[in-house]
């Protein structure tokens, strides 16, 4: 009987010290989305990536000029805390489509910013068209 108590006490001690272990290494947020709102999310299973499409205020209130879109692409990784879930991991690229030049009859400005060794896509016009083709996700309470 005594041994049982001893064993229980030992288990209690171990679990206490366990709780005090420091946090797992949380990935820093490299892309600062402040001022931008999420328009939609796109998963590409072949490329093992997930991308979030953001828009500035003008992009959220159509029709309006000065809209800026940002497609932020991450590598998908296993969710360390739940088997059955992939989570966005390393930041791969941020693509920006700025609609401002359109008002002067020019094409939208496209910019590609690579992170962690990602290579630029071949064609700016194709990427711009693709980003513009993405449909917004349905969010509750957004003006429909």
């Amino acid at each position: 009987m005594r041994y049982i108590y001893f064993a229980l006490a030992a288990v209690a001690l171990i679990s206490c010290s366990h709780a005090q272990q420091h946090l797992p290494a949380i990935r820093p947020y490299e892309f600062n989305d402040s001022g931008y709102q999420v328009i939609t999310t796109m998963i590409n299973e072949k490329a093992n990536s997930v991308a979030m499409l953001y828009g500035n205020k003008a992009a959220m209130n159509l029709p309006s000029s000065g809209a800026v879109y940002k497609l932020v692409t991450y590598r998908e990784q296993d969710n360390q805390f739940w088997f059955g879930s992939y989570i966005n991991g390393e930041l791969l690229s941020v693509e920006t489509v700025d609609m401002t030049p359109v008002a002067n009859g020019q094409p939208p400005a496209y910019q590609f910013k690579p992170y962690h060794g990602a290579t630029a896509p071949s064609d700016a016009a194709t990427r711009t068209a693709f980003i513009q083709s993405l449909q917004p996700a349905w969010y509750p309470c957004d003006p429909q």
Binding site: Y29, Q37, V38, I43, V50, E76, Y86, P140
Partner: protein, 308 residues
């Protein structure tokens, strides 16, 4: 000789009758006494009152007198006890919520005070069921300790204000309201489930985001709010997966004291585009918190990207 024979017959008859009555009263089970799940908790004098005046009908400890077991009478008694237990059962007090217990006590006082309870027909026959003046004032004194005062409550204040607003936002039974302002918050993460067919985006309010940056998330600070939006996956001709049908929006609101029953997080879920609040009582959300213990290393939050 003649008289003695007469007496004999008389004696025999009464004897037989008495035995018959006795047999009925010992053998007939007028009402069953189901197990006691949780007795009322009150000062002894209050419990004493209920025990002698009410327990024969309002408890699982019914003790009937022999005359309650007589044929015909037994049927009436059984009916009374069964209805009485349905209305109020001091032996199953634990089945009532604190609010229900409170209102049952005040109702009991007023029933006795007005002479409605114990049932007068019963009290007339059962002398010991009568409630004395002293006992009744003892119950009144006890109730005086249970008067409720209105205290400032931010949730209730918000609800009061809200009923005047044009676009009413749905509120969960535990007081958590849907917060459309989450659309301005930062994205915490996005997940793709392969144990089901959903995809999610998590948003963190400024308090939560700050806590992540400062690595102060075990425990998370009060005021942290994390939102999760869940959609069905929808795949296009090129194999890209997009958010399809909106399923629900879920909240975790940190207030270590208010939500101590659910490990310091208040949980809420609003389903379908109509945002129907999920859960009928605050207890519902224990199911959320018990599963979220699997994320205890990160203070109950699963969806944080780690450096692998």
């Amino acid at each position: 000789m003649k008289t003695s024979r007469f007496l004999k017959i008389a004696l025999l008859t009464t004897g037989a009758l008495t035995m018959a009555v006795a047999a009925i009263s010992f053998t007939t089970q007028v009402v069953e006494n189901p197990p006691i799940t949780g007795e009322i908790n009150a000062p002894e004098e209050v419990k004493q009152l209920f025990r002698h005046a009410c327990y024969d009908c309002h408890s699982n400890n019914t003790q009937l007198a022999w005359y309650d077991k007589l044929p015909v009478v037994a049927g009436l008694v059984r009916k009374d006890v069964e209805t009485a237990r349905q209305h109020l059962n001091f032996s199953e007090w634990d089945r009532l919520t604190p609010a229900q217990q409170q209102s049952a006590l005040w109702e009991a006082y007023n029933m006795i005070n007005s002479g409605t309870m114990p049932l007068p027909s019963y009290a007339a026959l059962h002398g010991n069921a009568k409630v004395t003046r002293e006992e009744l004032s003892g119950l009144r004194n006890y109730l005086n300790t249970k008067r409720v005062k209105v205290v400032p409550d931010s949730v209730k204040t918000a609800q009061t204000r809200q009923q005047w607003e044009k676009d009413q936002l749905p509120v969960s039974v535990n007081g958590i309201r849907h917060m459309p302002e989450f659309r301005q918050w930062q994205v915490m993460s996005t997940t793709s489930r392969f144990d089901n067919t959903t995809m999610r985006v998590m948003f963190a309010n400024p308090v939560a985001m700050q806590a992540i940056k400062e690595k102060k998330i075990n425990p998370w600070p009060d005021g942290a709010v994390i939102v999760k939006v869940v959609w069905e996956k929808s795949i296009d001709a090129n194999g890209n997966i997009h958010p399809g049908k909106f399923l629900n929006i879920q909240y975790m609101v940190r207030d270590a004291k208010r939500y101590q029953d659910t490990d310091g997080w208040g949980y809420a879920k609003f389903e379908t585009p109509a945002l129907k609040p999920y859960g009928s009582t605050p207890m519902t959300f224990r199911e959320c918190s018990s599963c979220h213990r699997a994320a205890s290393k990160t203070g109950g939050i699963f969806d944080l990207s780690t450096l692998n």
